[in-house]
Symmetry: C2
Subunit: 381 residues, 2 copies
Amino acid sequence: MTPIYFDNAATTPIRDEVIESMAKVMKHSYGNASSTHSFGRSSKVLIEGVRNSIASYLNVSASEIVFTSGGTEADNLALRSAARDLGVRRFITSKIEHHAILHTLDQLQLEYNLEVDFVNLTGDGQIDYEHLELLLQGDKKTLVSLMHINNEIGNILDISRVALLCKSNKALFHSDTVQSVGHYNLNLKDISIDFLAASAHKFHGPKGVGFAFIRKNSGLKPLIFGGEQERGIRAGTESVHNIVGLGESFKLAYDNLEVESAYVRHLKLYFMDRLKGAIPKVEFNGCSGDLDKSTYTSTNVRFPLSADKGAMFMFQLDLKGIACSKGSACQSGSSQNSHVLNEILSLDQLQKPSLRFSFSIYNTKDEVDYVIDTLKALIET
Amino acid sequence: MTPIYFDNAATTPIRDEVIESMAKVMKHSYGNASSTHSFGRSSKVLIEGVRNSIASYLNVSASEIVFTSGGTEADNLALRSAARDLGVRRFITSKIEHHAILHTLDQLQLEYNLEVDFVNLTGDGQIDYEHLELLLQGDKKTLVSLMHINNEIGNILDISRVALLCKSNKALFHSDTVQSVGHYNLNLKDISIDFLAASAHKFHGPKGVGFAFIRKNSGLKPLIFGGEQERGIRAGTESVHNIVGLGESFKLAYDNLEVESAYVRHLKLYFMDRLKGAIPKVEFNGCSGDLDKSTYTSTNVRFPLSADKGAMFMFQLDLKGIACSKGSACQSGSSQNSHVLNEILSLDQLQKPSLRFSFSIYNTKDEVDYVIDTLKALIET
């Protein structure tokens, strides 16, 4: 059987149309977008076209979109400059953020005189909004960084509520929206957010490109200094083909959002239904069993297995040609447990193996059937 | 006539083989290189293959090669961490470095208690090595950053000599080798350099990818924090297709170096000879008229024209389908003169228009003929 890819939260296959656009750009539009001659201007036109189209979709100005090498760089750009240039002396975040936030804040604490506060979480990994409101009452200049959709358990943040809370308490608001851009509508005219980070490879675009939204007049300064690219906020020759790939995948994601999200949502429901039928004692971590409170693209399953049997579980699935994940790919180099699950599960629950299954338009019900049968067989042996 | 691209120092056309490899990777190897399942491992194998091949060519360890989004990021990584983590309190550089160095040092001076000293230049833009030796005699912890090949005037640094000077004076040595990697042989076993920066799009590879060489046990820490990618020194999902494109273009550049560099060198000579014949009063900035002291890939020409006629010179060439440059593309967003020429030319010389013509394997003698004829006609009207 062809291997099955249920790890779309780690990265997604690139759409054929996107690959074709990128190959075309690489072949015919090789000018440096900063060059003033015709070759340069052609590249510039491509880049500004993507910027306009993303800005228009998000309902912001083109000048508020800054292309980066991905979500992690965009996160670093906002957080570092907030500490260095904007006078932020306190960060409020949660312990289940991506490491692009948590490790960056660890570093910034070494460099600057900063307080980092963590908002309380409910048992299913949701933000305690009352606690956030309480934390916001200090008078140090504060930035709140909370991700829109958690990359491991899929919990959806009430981003508008957090934005309002921040606004009324004069705090800046940054959100890692890497798991939501391309999958959920975002109208930044209605959400008073200051900074967000997105990454093309999470919505069938290329790896190594993303963007930061930086609200006008924010005062943010570069992470990478040098040339005057990106209106002076991000130096380095623009990756024209990657930016075009980002634009194409962004456009296709939103042009087809209704149909495609319905398809993937249906697949997740089908997976959960079949799973509960086949292995009645499975549980869902965080809110990932609830389609209203978690993303339609993934679910995080806790299996009724002992620790010793669980240790090899993902490896056995891999041998059967099934790709899923124990958590964030960015962490899988290390042998430690997921810091997200560590935070929200009890010691007993942590003994059982948990796996994230994440879906895309390229998955099918047949694949779900095969995966469920395989899981059932592995658990029963 | 098809437009003529004589701006290969700004960026180069991508080789067809490179585009094909990248498209293949995008189509078939979409796994996240940090994922432990088969999809992830396939991507990891591709990346490590490139790392090994670059390391082996440069005669260093694979762990000393760190992939970045390009040369500018690699420069920023080394310089920032040197100031922050390595205790460097003095930088020695020159006023004709790329802005990726100069603007980064400007910023670092705002953030850290740093001294920045500039080595003297000779009239043709060469480093005054005796002055460098003198500067190195201080006792503050020092890093020297001098580019191997100047991107505007093409002057070649005696990189081995600088490396030895740094070593014997216990200074760190960083070099922006963006214009030399892929065009000149570099054996880092013989050159005691600590850090270098390279960029694929300068040698017929993709834009938005490059690498830093970071000498083992240097203590360098990340610029971008987050996941454990690149052995913890550069967070963010790896751009697998771009890294493969970097690897393929690097390999092709060095496999064909002898033949291709001879071809381009011959083209530059032909261009200079014809130019001197057609416009006897032209002059060459820096060492760019001397093939021993400047790169075979470019030349920087000063035309015998008055300031008022010179102002529109590049624009007129562009209208005739000829792409060349007033200097670094990274600067051309701004209307200021080249900081490199400002540094080495007299006020009188600066009144005359200077243009950089840079060549690649895709250029021909016919193109040179057309460009020379066009230049002659423009100057005579």
